[in-house]
Every structure is written in C-alpha cells, then in structure tokens.
Symmetry: C2
Subunit: 268 residues, 2 copies
Amino acid sequence: RAHVVVLGNEKGGSGKSTTAMHLFVALARAGKRVGAMDLDLRQQSFFRYLENRRAYAERSGAALIMPEQARVTPSDLPLRAEADEADRAALRAALDGLRARCDFVVIDCPGSFTTFSQEAHAAADTLITPLNDSLIDFDLLARVDPATGRIKGPSIYSEMVWRGRQIRAQAGLKPIDWIVMRNRIATLDARNKRTVGRMLKELSRRIGFRVAPGFSERVIFRELFLSGLTLLDLRGGAEGQPLSMSHIAARQEVRELIRNLELPGVSP
Amino acid sequence: RAHVVVLGNEKGGSGKSTTAMHLFVALARAGKRVGAMDLDLRQQSFFRYLENRRAYAERSGAALIMPEQARVTPSDLPLRAEADEADRAALRAALDGLRARCDFVVIDCPGSFTTFSQEAHAAADTLITPLNDSLIDFDLLARVDPATGRIKGPSIYSEMVWRGRQIRAQAGLKPIDWIVMRNRIATLDARNKRTVGRMLKELSRRIGFRVAPGFSERVIFRELFLSGLTLLDLRGGAEGQPLSMSHIAARQEVRELIRNLELPGVSP
Ligand SMILES: Nc1ncnc2c1ncn2[C@@H]1O[C@H](COP(=O)(O)OP(=O)(O)OP(=O)(O)O)[C@@H](O)[C@H]1O
Ligand SMILES: Nc1ncnc2c1ncn2[C@@H]1O[C@H](COP(=O)(O)OP(=O)(O)OP(=O)(O)O)[C@@H](O)[C@H]1O
Ligand SMILES: [Mg+2]
Ligand SMILES: [Mg+2]
C-alpha cells in the first residue's frame, strides 16, 4: 500500500502546491509510481501545474513523467452534516484506489479548512507543512505571548493536525510523521530568521514535529508554472544554457528536503 | 457614509492581511476614523495583529490608534442556503454600523471562497487585490495558454469579483474601483517580473482593473506582527536607531500605494 504524503497548512501561500509539484517530480525521477490528489477544489494549482506539464510534453514531444491523478467532487447534499460525511467517504474511496496502484500518493491541501483537508490529514503517513519565515504564518501553528515572546499554546492549524492524529490513532494506524519545512527563506533576514527558528525549535518539542530546512526564496520555484516543468526537469538549463549557481543550489535544497523526509525506499 | 476598502484575493498568502494593517495605520495617521472587519474567521491575522497592537499600547503606555472593529459570526443553520442568507444579512448589518460612524472601513477577506467574502466584494467601493509576482498567483485571475503565453479568459477570482460587480450594479451602486497591487516584488527577478507585468497590463484592459506598483519583498513588512506595530509607527527606528534606507524605501512604497488608491479626502 502506498505511503501517503500530505502537503498541509491552513495558512495560504506557504508553498504547499509548489512543494507538492517538486516532491512529485523528485519521487517520479527516483523511479517511484506516484499518485496525486489536489484538494484545493477551486484553485487546483497543483493539478493546473500538471495540466501545463502534459501540454508541454504533447507540443514538445518530450517524455515527461506524470502522476496518476484522482479527483473528488464535493457533495451537493443540502444538509451540511450529510455533505461532510459523503465528502469523507469520497476521499477515502479515491485514495484507496491510488494506494493500491502506487508507491506514493502526494495530496495537496487548500489554504483553508475543509472536510476533504481534515480527512487527508488523518490519512497522512507523512505530513509536510511549508511555512514562511514569518510570525504571521507561525500564528496559525501556535499563539505567542507578544509581551514575553513565549509560546502560549497551539493554534488553529495545530489543532487540525491534532484532530487528524486522533482520528488515525482511533483507527489503529501508525503515527503521522509531521515535518514543518521553512520556505521562501530570505538571504537578508538574520534577526527575524533567528526568532522564527528559535520558536520552531521550541514548538517542535511541544507539539511533535520535526523541522526541515526547506527552500530559499528563488524565482526558479515560481517561473516554470506555464511549462509545467520544475528545476529538476532541466538538464543544463531550459534553453540548453549551463545551470546557474542558483539552480544547482535549488536542486540541492530539493534533494535535502527529500533526504529529510526519510521516506520508505527513497534515498536521494 | 464611509468609503469601503476591501482586501481580496482568493489566492492565499498574497498579502491581504499585511496590506489591510498598513492601510489602516496610514489612514488613521492621516486623521481618518477607520472601521475594520476581518472575514478570515479562523485565521483572523488582521485582528490578531490589532490585538497585539492593543497589548503593546497597554504595556508600553504608547498611544496607538486602533480602528473600530466589528465582528460577524457564521450561521449554524443546518441548511446551507439558509446559512448563506443569514451570513449575508449579518455582514450587511455589521458593515452598516461601521459605515455610519467611520470615514473608511477596511475589510480583510480570507484566501478562500466564502459567503462573507463574496458579500464584501459586492460592498467594496475600492477593492485591492495584492498579488505575488508569480504565474501561479496570476492563474487565479486569468487562464494563460501555456503554448502561446496569451490570456485565454478570466479565472475563479476574477469571476468572484465580476459577481460582486453584478450584485452592485443591480443595487444601483457606483462601480468598484479595482486595483491589483503587486506584492513581495523581488529585486533579482527581471524576466519573470517583465512577464507578469506584461500580462497584468493586458488583463487590466480586458477585465477592468488598475495596476499599482505595490510592495517589495521586505522583512520589515513581516517582522513587527508581535508588537502590533507597522513601519509607519516607527519614529527613527523601534529602538531609537535611525531608520534604515530600507525602512525609508518601505514608507515610500506605502505612501505610493495610498496615492494610487485615489481615496476620497486622502492625499498622502
Ligand atoms: N521557495 C520559493 N521561492 C519563490 N517563490 C515561491 C517559493 N515557494 C512558493 N513560492 C511562490 O509563492 C506563492 C505561494 O506558493 P504556493 O501556491 O505553492 O502556496 P500554497 O500554500 O499552495 O498556497 P494556497 O494556500 O493558495 O494553496 C506562489 O506564487 C509560488 O510561486
Ligand atoms: N511585501 C512583503 N514583504 C515581505 N513579506 C511579506 C510581504 N507581504 C506579505 N508578507 C508575508 O507574506 C505572508 C503572507 O502575507 P499575508 O498573511 O498578509 O497574506 P494573506 O493574503 O492575508 O494570506 P491569507 O490568504 O492566508 O489570508 C506573511 O507571512 C507576511 O508576513
Ligand atoms: Mg496551493
Ligand atoms: Mg490574510
């Protein structure tokens, strides 16, 4: 049965879809069969990125690996409690299908609370939470006392993860491996970076996650969307130019993330 | 009656809450009475920033302007259609209260589609949509043909704005002044920046918004959350140090945004 990797963070724009895409390509290039779900039903950034990838492969003749994609449709039952139950069942059915045929399933979640997202968090063997280096983003993980800078307690997204863990424990499944990954790390940000780093370290012990170094702020992570490519697909540069130092460093960051994830059967 | 400014973008992490906070402080320091609403009911980043501001004022004795804040509670009616209607009425009631007592009302919307957010878009005299310099963010405004780079048509967030305009027109209100504001602009990003800039220019003519230069990527926009301060509140630096070149440039960006908004009775 496939190992399920969920990209989750209720905070918008933290890098879930970007990380989902790069994780998929890294696993696929490592020879794994990868399934994919995009639970951000309106935005569909992950699946749109894949759509662009398929289109690029078709018009260029390039052989570009694609995942097996499974979709869910939200229930239109008028009573919310019934619609939620139908959604949970729909997600489990779609996921079970992928799990039977793949080595890994990558699930991208929305930057909001939905029944699909909560259910995915309960289905996660590995949960990756990308996080901007910002106390605004941190505020969704934990409340910080503004007077003392000390952590007061878990916040709404930690509670969502805790609920996922609870559901999983009740089902007798092994615990979620929760990794918080710093993203869009700026070069000139020493004081703020130290503050966020210190708080992450403290919080990781309290609520049970590991911290991964993650990705720097790099244009290469966001300029290839239309081509459906990632920097991992580029050999010597998109137009045959040699890879820049920044590309090489970016590749190293993706490799480092994969290594930190400690996924079964994967050595980067 | 107050002029309503809405921060909207279904894309998460584009900078709505950050811009809402800086807009509030700029208007308040210009002597305006400002009302505030935070329709991101779970995250509440805008109102949490204000909570930190109030706490800072109390413990430091500093006189820090606060807006008049109005809250809404989501309906718990079991039938979705009834709950939506109750939510729309609740928003209008809260907003009417603020409008009667303030010069401006700043409404921060969530990075997701909600009834409250759609209703706020219909109530907007000015709508500010912050946008990362990224075709992933742009994808929520318009679909781009990956083969040609041409704009194919409006996407989910543009449709949300269009719906707001429709509701407004039916109510006989004057049109929304829609401003798309580039945010987190990187210094080293020439090619991608040009691409996004070109597409924004083309799209602005097609679907009817103006483009404002916006804010550069600057740590100062995200490191003051715990203090509840913004760079506009700093005189000569938070610890009495002289303002850096970056702070002065950041202030200029905020001033430039205010100038571009062309708000009634405001000259920056
Ligand atoms: N390391 C990075 N360097 C540069 N840009 C990045 C990086 N990571 C993400 N981005 C950009 O930041 C924005 C947000 O990223 P992304 O859409 O992946 O986040 P998300 O968490 O999926 O957002 P949402 O909550 O809306 O689903 C996008 O414009 C993306 O291109
Ligand atoms: N100009 C900027 N420079 C540096 N950091 C910024 C800037 N604008 C926003 N940020 C940071 O980017 C992240 C997203 O900003 P913000 O929370 O304001 O976006 P949002 O659109 O309100 O997100 P959501 O959709 O989750 O409500 C935050 O960590 C914030 O501190
Ligand atoms: Mg996403
Ligand atoms: Mg926000």
